[in-house]
């Protein structure tokens, strides 16, 4: 092989393994899932039946509606809780302690997903810490039913995403130059107006990125709703896993997964549009 030939082949030798891996273990499985979603479970014939089932069966519909309600609630609560917290960390805490304060704030982020949801079960269970504190102090007479409800799912999600959003919003606030704030203050704006008209608009794109990330990760998660919410009401990932686990109905599971991906794509289109308007 001549020098120039090996020179031309080398870059391909470098990038091909990663490309092949992605093709074989990501693209092909995805295409297979897509094709399968148009097949009959029993005999493998081509059909729209799986998608039709989703639109005809109200309990399947309900799972998507539940998923959207839970995810949007989680996103809103998480942003509202995380923003002031990130602001305190970035603006009030002395600079030399900020890194430590932030590290502490995201430490439980590193617990495994399954363990984190189980920990909330300990806290929220019928005879768990919260209920024993409430009944022990006489605030309520009978323990509250928190575990195995939508509320528990939301609490578990919010816990995770407050940490994630604190990280992204903190980074966003730190990137703001203090001269903006000073300029606004010099022109006579009070602290509230500085916040509403300067800081908030400048950090909005960052918030949107964090909110979108929250939406995507929460709507695709199976563990939190399964452990904390139980089976009283199903979210989309639970419905998908149920088709695989109990019934082995891969075509229907594939169709549901594709529908979930379409929803995420729509959310992305809405978010990206909104972001662009904000930037101009």
């Amino acid at each position: 092989m001549s020098e120039s030939q090996s020179g031309r082949l080398l870059p391909w030798a470098l990038v091909t393994p990663a490309l092949l891996w992605t093709l074989v273990f990501f693209i092909i499985p995805f295409v297979a899932m897509f094709v399968l979603s148009f097949m009959q479970h029993e005999d493998g014939r081509a059909t729209f039946e799986n998608y039709r089932q989703f639109f005809d069966n109200p309990s399947y519909w309900r799972a998507l509606v539940n998923s959207l309600q839970v995810t949007l609630t989680v996103t809103a609560i998480s942003v509202l809780l995380a923003y002031p917290f990130a602001w305190i960390l970035a603006e009030i805490v002395p600079v030399r302690y900020q890194r430590l304060a932030l590290m502490l704030a995201v430490l439980p982020f590193w617990t495994s997903y399954v363990v984190r949801s189980y920990s909330w079960l300990l806290v929220l269970a019928q005879n768990g810490v919260v209920n024993q504190a409430l009944t022990g102090s006489g605030i309520v007479d009978d323990p509250l039913q928190i575990a195995n409800t939508r509320g528990a799912t939301i609490i578990g999600f919010v816990h995770f995403f407050v940490m994630l959003l604190t990280l992204t919003i903190f980074a966003n606030l730190k990137q703001l130059s203090p001269s903006y704030r000073r300029a606004a203050a010099d022109l006579g704006a009070g602290p509230v107006r500085v916040f509403l008209h300067v800081i908030l608009p400048l950090t909005l794109p960052g918030i949107m990125v964090g909110a979108f990330l929250t939406f995507v990760l929460a709507i695709g998660d199976y563990i939190t709703p399964q452990i904390l919410g139980g089976n009283n009401e199903l979210l989309m990932p639970q419905l998908i896993m149920m088709q695989i686990g109990r019934r082995g109905d891969f075509p229907l599971a594939s169709a549901l997964a594709i529908i979930l991906m379409v929803v995420v794509t729509i959310a992305y289109i809405i978010c990206s549009r909104w972001l662009k308007i904000e930037r101009t």
Partner: protein
């Protein structure tokens, strides 16, 4: 007014810290429970459940499996990611943007869907459920991450070093392993440990793609069937400890140096 504001700010920060730490504190505290239920009143401290867990052969083999899958899949993801990043950063390839997009595409898809797709293809190809299948899935989720991190760290100052080595007669492979790898070591190290933590924690792919021999998160999931159980607290606390050590290593080695 100022004092009231200060109190309000401190109270809010403390409340959020309390919320963030509540489940972790409860988990670790009741892992030290002496009696058989991890609920108040606290009857410890006792290391009883840690002894039970550490002598549980299923859990310990799952722990070993998790470590093995995390190490091997992360090493492969870093190797593939590094080679590709080097290729794209140092050479002009046609449709480079499209190919880079392809490699990072799995980042946008949920683990559930990645796992399901692999399960369908493996079923069809007759590949049995195994730790290797789960490891393949973990490379799929970590390769884009490793690639993106290493690619973003490839600056122009390294090109000069590499050119100098080439001028002095080093072959391409020598340049790669004796110059580029050492220079990019922090990024390689960081992506390796990040991939380790993701693989170590990953549940749904391992759940779908393994059967008898499985990873620790799946084994913990199986424990959950028995309800609240101090054994789960103990193994959960151990897992948390390992993750914290990995996170601290990442912080100390990479982020300190990059500042």
């Amino acid at each position: 007014m100022r004092a009231a504001g200060k109190i309000l700010v401190s109270a809010y920060a403390l409340a959020i810290y309390g919320f963030i730490f509540l489940p972790v504190v409860v988990l670790v505290l009741f892992s030290l429970q002496a009696s058989s239920f991890p609920i108040p009143p606290f009857t410890g401290p006792s290391l009883r459940w840690y002894e039970v867990v550490l002598s549980d052969r299923r859990l310990m083999s799952a722990l070993f499996n998790s470590v093995a899958v995390a190490l091997l899949s992360s090493a492969l993801a870093v190797a593939l990611g590094f080679l590709a990043a080097w290729g794209f950063a140092r050479h002009h390839l046609p449709r480079s943007g499209l190919m880079r997009g392809l490699i990072t595409l799995p980042l946008t898809v949920s683990y559930l869907i990645i796992g399901m797709g692999l399960l369908i293809v493996f079923n069809w190809a007759g590949v049995p459920k195994s730790l290797i299948a789960a490891g393949i899935g973990h490379v799929v989720i970590n390769l884009p991450l490793c690639f993106a991190i290493i690619y973003s760290q490839m600056g122009d100052h390294q090109v000069t070093l590499e050119r100098a080595a080439r001028d002095l007669g080093a072959s391409e492979w020598k340049v790669l392993f004796l110059v580029s790898v050492p220079v990019l070591w922090p990024a390689i190290f960081a992506s390796f440990f990040l991939a380790m933590t993701f693989s170590w924690d990953e549940f749904v792919i391992a759940f779908l793609l393994t059967r008898f021999d499985t990873t620790l998160p799946v084994e913990i999931w199986n424990l959950l069937r028995s309800g609240l159980n101090p054994r789960t607290n103990a193994i959960g606390s151990l897992v948390f400890g390992v993750s914290i050590v990995l996170a601290l290593l990442l912080e100390l080695v990479f982020f300190r140096r990059s500042r």
